[in-house]
């Protein structure tokens, strides 16, 4: 079985308003998929539903993750099964040190993988190494989770967690927004370092620029709650040039099949 993720006709409403009008998506193991689309088209909604955030009504459709019915799993079960979400707006948890938080998280995930828990010393070693990959100072381990981090630091921190937790499917929700060009390269190199035939990525972004560094296998356009077009990396360039308006007509009747 090659697909790590299969989404079929997913319709989702929030507070009575339908946001996703039937999303279909298949992601194969080892692939990087980019999802682009205008503000409010439902990208974050899709990411949140995949990660299991509450408050969304599933009207129709199904999601298979590694063959499992994803929508029936608790958020922590999904995480332990290797699904990772890099948040668009990471939340601050005052007073809970990064070290405590991440060691707890990592050990939960290791337990699910049948691995021994890491003691604080072994944890520090691996944490320091992964932090260096994304240029975060080790002293951040003693700070509260995202507490008073700058916007860019929060994004880097999400990628650091990705490197540490080594998921099978990572969903990145606008990890590039608000980053300067150097930080963007750091984030991209972190992701590229993790690319492997065993690991898949869904990268949500507004900017073609990121995709110069993280080269996607497939680019999708999410428009008004539907995937209206899929293509290769050149689709991102087209979008950069022409915007989304030209897809509007297609959005109504024409839905192209995935090329994968």
């Amino acid at each position: 079985m090659d697909n790590i993720l299969i989404i079929r006709n997913l319709r989702v409403a929030v507070e009575g308003k339908e946001i996703l009008h039937g999303v279909d998506l298949e992601v194969r193991r080892g692939e990087v998929h980019a999802i682009m689309g205008p503000n409010g088209s439902g990208k974050s909604t899709l990411a949140a539903v995949l990660a299991g955030r509450e408050g969304y009504d599933i009207l129709e459709g199904e999601v298979l993750y590694n063959g499992m019915n994803l929508l029936e799993m608790e958020p922590e079960e999904r995480a332990r099964a290797g699904l990772f979400l890099a948040f668009q707006y990471p939340v601050e948890i005052p007073g809970v040190t990064m070290a405590t938080f991440l060691r707890t998280a990592l050990n939960e995930i290791r337990k699910a993988r049948g691995q021994e828990p890491l003691d604080p010393i072994a944890f520090l070693k691996i944490a320091r190494e992964r932090m260096s990959w994304v240029g975060i100072d080790p002293e951040f381990l003693q700070r509260g989770v995202n507490e008073s981090f700058s916007g860019g630091e929060k994004k880097r921190n999400e990628i650091f967690q990705l490197l540490l937790l080594e998921p099978q499917l990572a969903i990145l929700d606008e990890t590039d927004s608000g980053l300067d060009i150097d930080a963007l390269k750091v984030v991209a190199s972190g992701v590229n370092r993790m690319r492997s035939p065993e690991r898949s990525f869904v990268v949500i972004t507004h900017y073609q620029r990121l995709l110069n560094y993280i080269v996607p296998d497939v680019v999708h356009v999410l428009y008004d709650g539907r995937i209206v077009r899929s293509g290769g990396k050149e689709l991102a360039l087209q979008l950069e040039e022409r915007g989304y308006d030209w897809l509007r007509a297609e959005g109504e009747e024409l839905v192209l099949p995935s090329i994968s």
């Binding site: 990660a51 299991g52 955030r53 509450e54 408050g55 608790e74 958020p75 922590e76 999904r78 995480a79 332990r80 990772f84 979400l85 948040f87 990471p90 939340v91 948890i93 005052p94 007073g95 809970v96 040190t97 405590t100 938080f101 991440l102 707890t104 998280a105 990592l106 939960e108 995930i109 699910a112 509260g144 989770v145 967690q161 937790l165």
Partner: protein
């Protein structure tokens, strides 16, 4: 979102009191009720000198003229003081070594994880264990004695060090102070006594564990700590108590005295039985704790983690008399189910350049009520006094309450006081972030609460900070156990 919170609450509330069990130990019991004869009985049983009888009777006569205070934000049925038994002591007492301790008592202590064990002793903890009203074991005494430090039961101090006791007992909390202090003065059975001589730094944490073990036996502990000039002592009090249906009254008095340049650090981890999920049973904890910075440049620091008791009424305070003295209060109070806590501190600035710092974290879950009540009073002569107060409340769910009553009275124009207060909820977004990283909802709550209290927990002695963290998790935990 409301449903998620409710579910969480269900789990949190489902957690039963872990330390609930009843020991089977022969006890010597006083008749139920309170009158001058009972005072005589206690005095006689304890073989105290004549002056103590006078002392107790004076307090008792004054108590009879007093009204139980009703200003705190707590409600409970009237207490029948004549239905309480005021004295109970295990029959075997005053043992020389651990081996002589009643095996049943040792078993309980082990079950509670109380450090009567060698490892813990090696870790530098001297334990004065109080089971009900009488001391049953005192360790590490010799080592302390070498330094001239006195650490013993209050009963022993009355016998062996009457001069110190007579001089200081009731000097910080006089029997006239309040209803419960008067009651305690009349009937107190035992407690701890510490004296640290000039210039001595006590090399280990001194700790006492209190328990209530006999039905309808009020617990009236009396603790007195004196730090002589330039000395230092850190003292820890921790409590757990077994499940009982009937409410039990606990009215302790703690007095601290710091002379010139002395420092006293007093830490409490309080885990009395909080009552069941319907709010039945549980301890009524009416405590008077007060320290005086008598000497210049002296310091008293209270740190408390309060998770237990059905009702907590407690305001560890500092009188800053010596010039340049410092008072601190660091508090975490957790209430769940039907618990009620009305707690805080008083900082009374008398001397010049006195400083105080208050950090209070109230956490309310279930249908509980959590109140911070604090007073900062700067008297006329307290030039350049400074106070910083921060009180934060955290709500879990929407059926609990948090309240703050900060009173500030400043009579000196050079004084500066600062007050900050926040109220927050454990947000769904925080919980979701944790869960997305593989952490269960229940563990996430414990993690977030511990983080919230970190600033206070950091002030606890290392090994107890770990215990306190566990306790916070236990008092808010869900289906586990």
């Amino acid at each position: 979102m409301a449903t998620q919170q409710d579910e969480l609450l269900q789990q949190v509330t489902a957690s039963e009191y872990k330390y609930g069990f009843v020991a089977d130990i022969e006890e010597e019991l006083a008749p139920v009720g309170l009158n001058e004869e009972i005072i005589h009985y206690i005095w006689e049983r304890k073989g105290e000198p004549e002056w103590m009888l006078e002392w107790r009777l004076r307090a008792f006569r004054h108590w009879k003229t007093m009204q139980e205070p009703r200003w705190a934000k707590v409600t409970y049925p009237p207490i029948d003081y004549q239905a309480i038994r005021y004295y109970a002591a295990p029959k075997k007492r005053q043992v020389q070594s651990l081996d002589e301790v009643d095996p049943e008592i040792r078993r309980i202590f082990e079950k509670l994880g109380i450090p009567l064990e060698e490892q813990k002793l090696l870790a530098g903890v001297a334990v004065d264990a109080v089971l009900d009203s009488a001391s049953v074991a005192t360790t590490f005494k010799e080592k302390l004695a070498e330094l001239g430090i006195i650490f013993c039961s209050m009963s022993e101090a009355i016998q062996q060090h009457p001069d110190l006791v007579q001089r200081y007992l009731g000097s910080v909390v006089p029997y006239t102070d309040n209803f419960f202090a008067a009651l305690n003065s009349a009937v107190f059975s035992d407690g701890s006594f510490v004296y640290v001589p000039p210039g001595v730094r006590c090399p280990m944490e001194l700790s006492t564990y209190f328990r209530i073990n006999a039905a309808r036996t009020g617990q009236f502990e009396r603790t007195l700590i004196i730090a002589d000039e330039g000395s230092y002592v850190s003292y820890l009090e921790g409590c757990t108590a077994p499940i009982r249906d009937e409410n039990q009254l606990h009215a302790a008095v703690v007095e601290l005295i710091a002379l010139d340049g002395a420092e006293i650090k007093y830490s409490t981890v309080q885990n009395w039985y909080p009552g069941d999920r319907e709010g039945r049973g549980g301890i009524y904890n009416f405590v008077t704790k007060r320290g005086i910075c008598l000497g210049k440049e002296s310091k008293i620091s209270w740190t408390q983690v309060e998770t237990g008791s059905a009702i907590t009424w407690k305001y560890p305070s500092v009188i800053l008399k010596g010039d340049g003295s410092v008072g601190e209060f660091y508090s975490v109070a957790v209430t769940n189910n039907y618990q009620q806590a009305d707690t805080g501190t008083k900082m009374i600035h008398i001397g010049r350049h006195t400083r105080s710092r208050i950090v209070s974290k109230g956490i309310a879950a279930g249908r509980s009520n959590n109140t911070y009540r604090g007073l900062v009073r700067v008297l006329r002569g307290a030039d350049y006094a400074r106070n910083y107060t921060q009180c934060d409340s955290l709500l879990i769910g929407h059926t609990c309450g948090a309240h703050t009553f900060p009173y500030i009275e400043v009579l000196n124009p050079t004084a500066i006081t600062e007050h900050e207060a926040t109220t927050s909820k454990i947000g769904d977004d925080m919980l979701f972030y944790c869960r997305q990283r593989g952490i269960s909802e229940e563990d996430a709550v414990a993690l977030i609460v511990n983080g919230y209290c970190r600033e206070v927990l950091l002030h606890l002695p290392m090994e107890f900070a770990v215990e306190a963290q566990k306790l916070l998790a236990i008092s808010l935990e869900g289906s586990v156990g």
